[in-house]
Symmetry: C2
């Protein structure tokens, strides 16, 4: 069995709305002597959101009464709350300094993924991509088109993963998870396979996409300016979106 | 910034109670042309538990009334329930076919970590190690002693991580997490650091140990017989136990 190698893609410039990400990522891979083929490219949510112009200035926001009440209850900026509520399908928990939301996409995380760190400018908030699976698919298509134009080849074995850093219940510290996927199966479903003793495996649905995101997160230290990681050595098969990682409402014991 | 390399340690024989794990793991590393120095060794809980004799035969168990009632409610074997209850500090959620427990160690997972797959023999259950942090520390000391005896050297830069595969709320699929640690800091605390724009980072406690466990989990496919993974390229500093990953009761919004 081959090793897995995670290569940080460095020196990617600050991303602005409308920038073409694919050439920037391909150039960063070239600097690391890598070809983006036969592997998974993990890209942090921030550069996708910046490219998609998902920045909002707090200065232009007039908070609603609901945002103002929630701001007082959670000790947060009411203008930020207004933005967060626009991204929120459901508030899961709230407490002093804490607001756990289910986002429009169905992900459960703090502040519906709205963040103010590592965002250029004063009083700016960065929102999650509108549709991170679509972002992953577009980036994959752009990279495949680039490879086809440059070298006349096109590898189908290219997975794209958009990651974000989430907290979780019961455990301290944050981990990176997948919020957008394209070109690979996000869940490895081994139901029906046998264990070493020949019994059917019961624990069998592995969240491969989240394990990949967490692995890449080891290199994406927040302040280090590594917004993308190239992963080789992982079997790439199937397809699917990060929506497959959402637990269905009726199976969710922690609503 | 250097890449991270994950090497699977293969062909480790079935582990029996009392086996010396350190020489078996060192030999597996040698076969992979690796020296267990300057890196993190991730070992799956199962071989630790087997080595520590944490096997129970269901045939010898007389289930209590509480176990019988819970077995009916959750559609599980009452004898297995008896074992699970012995490992459980608190039942977090129960439903048909589902029992989420807080273990004696304070980890929240299905069935208090008691498992029947990949266990030799009929009707046998495998429990989590008594104290996975102590297991990690003992394995680290044994490996360091072995290195000292063989080569007269001893690397302080050796992290040991005991991993298990847990479900989580809201998201489908399982991921590997750390249940025991020794020789490295399980949480990377960057509070007080500045982001690229010079603002103080707010999201800053990264669960490095869980990211390492998840990365190793990519290679530890349940049926593939890879119970250990060697990780290089990760900065190894500090020390701590997996208990640092437990969220304190009063900060836990999901009890």
């Amino acid at each position: 069995m081959q090793p897995i190698v995670l290569t940080p893609l460095c020196d990617i410039p600050e991303i602005h709305p409308g920038d073409a990400l694919a050439p920037l990522l391909e150039a960063a891979a070239q600097r690391a002597q890598k070809t983006l083929s036969d592997g998974i490219l993990v890209v942090c949510q921030k550069i996708i959101s910046k490219q998609e112009g998902r920045l909002r200035s707090l200065k232009t926001i007039a908070p609603s009464e609901r945002a103002q009440i929630l701001a007082r209850e959670t000790n947060k900026d009411p203008r930020l709350l207004e933005i967060i509520l626009g991204e929120t399908a459901r508030i899961v928990r709230q407490a002093h300094n804490v607001l756990i939301c289910e986002t429009r996409h169905g992900f459960v995380c703090a502040n519906a993924g709205v963040d103010c760190s590592n965002v250029p400018g004063d009083e700016m908030a960065l929102l999650l991509p509108e549709d991170p699976d679509a972002s992953a698919r577009r980036l994959r298509e752009a990279l495949l088109a680039l490879q086809h134009a440059r070298r006349g080849v096109q590898s189908a074995r290219l997975g794209i993963l958009v990651s974000d850093t989430f907290g979780r219940p019961w455990r301290e510290g944050l981990v990176d998870v997948a919020i957008g996927c394209a070109g690979f199966a996000p869940i490895d479903d081994a139901r029906g396979h046998l264990d070493r003793e020949g019994r059917e495996l019961r624990v069998t649905q592995l969240a491969v996409a989240d394990q990949l995101a967490a692995a890449a997160g080891l290199l994406m230290q927040k302040a280090a300016g590594i917004p993308a990681v190239w992963i080789e050595g992982v079997p790439i098969h199937g397809d699917g979106t990060a929506q497959a990682l959402r637990r269905a409402k009726d199976l969710d014991l922690f609503r």
